[in-house]
């Protein structure tokens, strides 16, 4: 099967609109049949694992699929493991800002049976879904901040996230903050640290005064 990704030449001089919080809507699954076809293929590859050589491509491409991408990525998180695909799963989940993915990674972050790195990557996704400029690394999550320092999450420029069919709205972000709050007493110290720090950074960035404490 021949896949086709529409060629888009975006010259920097005309891309000024792509700034914080705005998505790159040039190629959409909804509007472009070629993208739609590729999305279906990517979904199939990710669901079945075949053909294996296309798995990495599919995991990257699925982030462009605002209709079919979210359920697929959510399902991948439900069976996520500490594999070589974990970072790419994080990146695609970060890039596709859909509440279905948010819900799935929230459960992953809360699941104490999962490996630490999987849970930390889930928290990375939550950070980015709450604040799209938070394209963070695991060390960013674990960087120590105390009451006498201000060490925010880095802000990526440009922000290139794409919004899914179920956008991440304020209620969803409130849910992220609440879920992260529950993790502050997690038995895994790194997960607890990352959750507390992420929660505070989200609240500071969104100017939510009721949840900026450091605990």
């Amino acid at each position: 099967m021949r896949l086709h990704v529409q060629s888009i030449a975006i010259v920097l001089t005309i891309t000024t609109a792509i700034t914080s919080g705005r998505s790159l809507e040039a190629q959409t699954e909804r509007q472009d049949p070629h993208v739609r076809n590729d999305c279906r293929l990517a979904a199939q590859v990710l669901e079945t694992g075949h053909p294996a050589p296309h798995y990495e491509w599919a995991l990257e491409f699925i982030a462009k699929c605002e209709e079919t991408g979210a359920p697929v990525l959510a399902a991948l998180w439900r069976s996520a493991a500490d594999t070589e695909h974990l970072n790419r799963l994080y990146v695609s989940s970060y890039l596709l800002r859909d509440a279905r993915i948010t819900d799935a990674v929230t459960k992953v972050a809360q699941n104490r049976a999962l490996p630490r790195l999987v849970r930390l990557n889930a928290i990375r996704v939550l950070a980015g879904h709450a604040v799209p400029e938070f394209l963070v690394t695991v060390p960013d999550l674990l960087r120590r901040e105390n009451e006498f320092s201000i060490i925010p999450f880095p802000s990526v420029d440009p922000v290139t996230v794409r919004h899914g069919e179920r956008p991440v709205e304020e209620a969803t972000i409130r849910g992220i903050v609440e879920a992260l709050g529950h993790l502050r007493s997690d038995s895994d110290a790194d997960v607890a640290t990352a959750a507390v720090r992420t929660r505070r950074q989200i609240c500071l960035r969104l100017r939510w005064q009721d949840c900026t404490q450091r605990w």
């Binding site: 888009i8 891309t15 000024t16 790159l24 190629q27 491509w57 462009k64 009451e147 201000i150 440009p158």
Partner: protein
């Protein structure tokens, strides 16, 4: 008469020529030698004819003076200097019992002086010594612990007391009449003064007989010195660095009445306009950029990070004395910039999918295409690095971010004042957020016309797997 005068105990031990004093006939008057007196020892000299008293200070009260104690034999045999360590046996205190050897009194007004003396000091006799030379015994005050008089314009109050049979003379308390009008000056100004933040302010009062307390009330921040329940400063000069605008007030007794004077203090900002935050901008592997970028934005990005550390002592200072005591402030902008730049080197390499997605030769469309050649693809890597901020190019994301954060943040950091490190951090957090917001918006300009460094058009069509 004869009542003991309260105070700290004085026991002295006289040494003559390094040996303990023993009752003996003092030497010939032509011989004079120093007789050290050690506080805490017991007097063993029982010679009834020996008087001990303090020598007076010079009449000019502006000269500092540590009056020596002299032993004197009545017969007379001459003076023998005695050095007193630690304890003043007899002292006259000015009105208000303030320390010092000068009493400020209003002309024509009553002033009350009191005595401080060692245990066992009795029978005080009061004198007023006029600078013109006359010595007047203040008979109404004889034997009294305090003495209220209307002092003449210039002179000194002296008291004699007896201790263990020896006569002691107090230090001279100089009288200085001052205008009855209270005056307050801060850095030489009477009504208002302008001062750069963190510079020193010196406030002096004149015309007061008794300062009951200084106050500073800030225009903002709810700061007041002294704090509720605190003890006000009562010295004649109040000075220290100031960081908040407000009002300095002195409350003082002028004659019998309490008066107040205030000076308005306007603190002006330090010039932090030319200061820029320390920065580090480094490249890190681009693990998040796709192997097949679908826009220029996937060829590189920058992660801005602006941190503030208050544990670094060089960022802030505290004030311990004066009108703004117990406040802390920033001595320089506290932010530091740590950016990481990412370049999609995998895509921008020879024979990558991205390489192969470019045309091999120019079309006749009038559009200048980027071609499958190093000049357009691999040579774009340093261009991206520069565009993001490596080298701090004036059109780069990093430059626009940092300069904007400095412009927005520095004047606001300059104003940060708190009574705890936590308060400094909390205020700086708000400034940080504001500076970051503006800086992010400015950084985005790097992708706009006139900034972005492109010379050809890239293509992002990969033609399937």
């Amino acid at each position: 008469m004869g009542a003991g005068i309260g105070g700290s105990a004085l026991r002295v031990h006289l040494l003559v020529d390094g040996a303990e004093w023993a009752p003996r006939v003092l030497p010939d008057s032509s011989l004079e030698w120093i007789v050290p007196v050690r506080a805490g020892a017991r007097i063993e000299a029982q010679r009834t004819s020996l008087n001990i008293f303090k020598q007076s200070c010079p009449y000019d009260p502006s000269e500092p003076c540590t009056p020596p104690l002299y032993a004197y034999d009545l017969r007379p045999v001459g003076l023998a200097g005695v050095h007193v360590e630690g304890v003043v046996p007899l002292q006259v205190l000015p009105p208000g019992a303030a320390a010092g050897d000068t009493a400020l009194v209003a002309p024509g007004r009553e002033a009350t002086f009191t005595i401080q003396a060692v245990d066992g000091m009795t029978a005080p006799v009061w004198y007023f010594f006029a600078w013109e030379g006359s010595l007047t015994r203040l008979r109404d005050c004889s034997g009294q612990m305090s003495c209220t008089i209307i002092p003449p314009k210039r002179g000194s109050v002296i008291v004699y007391g007896k201790w263990n049979g020896y006569t002691f003379e107090s230090e001279y308390l100089h009288i200085k009449t001052v205008p009855a009008q209270l005056q307050l000056k801060c850095n030489g100004a009477q009504d208002s003064v302008r001062i750069t933040r963190a510079d020193e302010l010196t406030c002096n009062v004149s015309g007061a007989t008794d300062i009951t307390g200084w106050e500073f009330s800030a225009d903002t921040y709810g700061y007041h010195n002294p704090a509720a329940g605190g003890t006000p400063f009562t010295g004649i000069e109040w000075k220290g660095r100031v960081v908040l605008s407000g009002t300095v007030t002195v409350n003082a007794r002028v004659g019998g009445a309490v008066e107040s004077k205030s000076v308005r203090v306007s603190v002006e900002a330090r010039d932090w306009g030319g200061m820029t935050m320390p920065r580090s901008i480094s490249e890190e592997p681009a693990l998040h950029l796709p192997p097949r970028p679908d826009s220029l934005h996937h060829l590189g990005d920058i992660h801005h990070l602006m941190v503030v550390e208050f544990q670094h002592m060089e960022n802030w200072a505290a004030i311990f004395t004066g009108p703004n005591a117990n406040l802390a402030y920033l001595v320089k902008p506290p932010a530091e910039y740590e950016a990481t730049v990412h370049v999609n080197r995998a895509a921008l390499s020879r024979d990558s999918d991205f390489w192969n997605a470019q045309y091999t030769r120019q079309r006749s469309s009038g559009i200048v295409d980027c071609l499958q050649r190093e000049a357009d693809i691999t040579d774009f890597i340093p261009v991206i690095l520069q565009h993001e901020g490596v080298g701090f190019d004036p059109k780069s994301h990093a430059y626009l971010y940092v300069t904007t954060a400095d412009r927005v943040g520095n004047p606001r950091y300059e104003r940060v004042v708190g009574s705890t490190l936590q308060e400094l951090a909390d205020q700086a957090t708000a400034v940080h957020a504001m500076a970051h917001d503006s800086a992010v918006a400015a950084s985005a300009r790097a992708d706009s016309s006139g900034y972005a460094p492109t010379w050809c058009r890239f293509h992002f069509n990969y033609g399937g797997r």
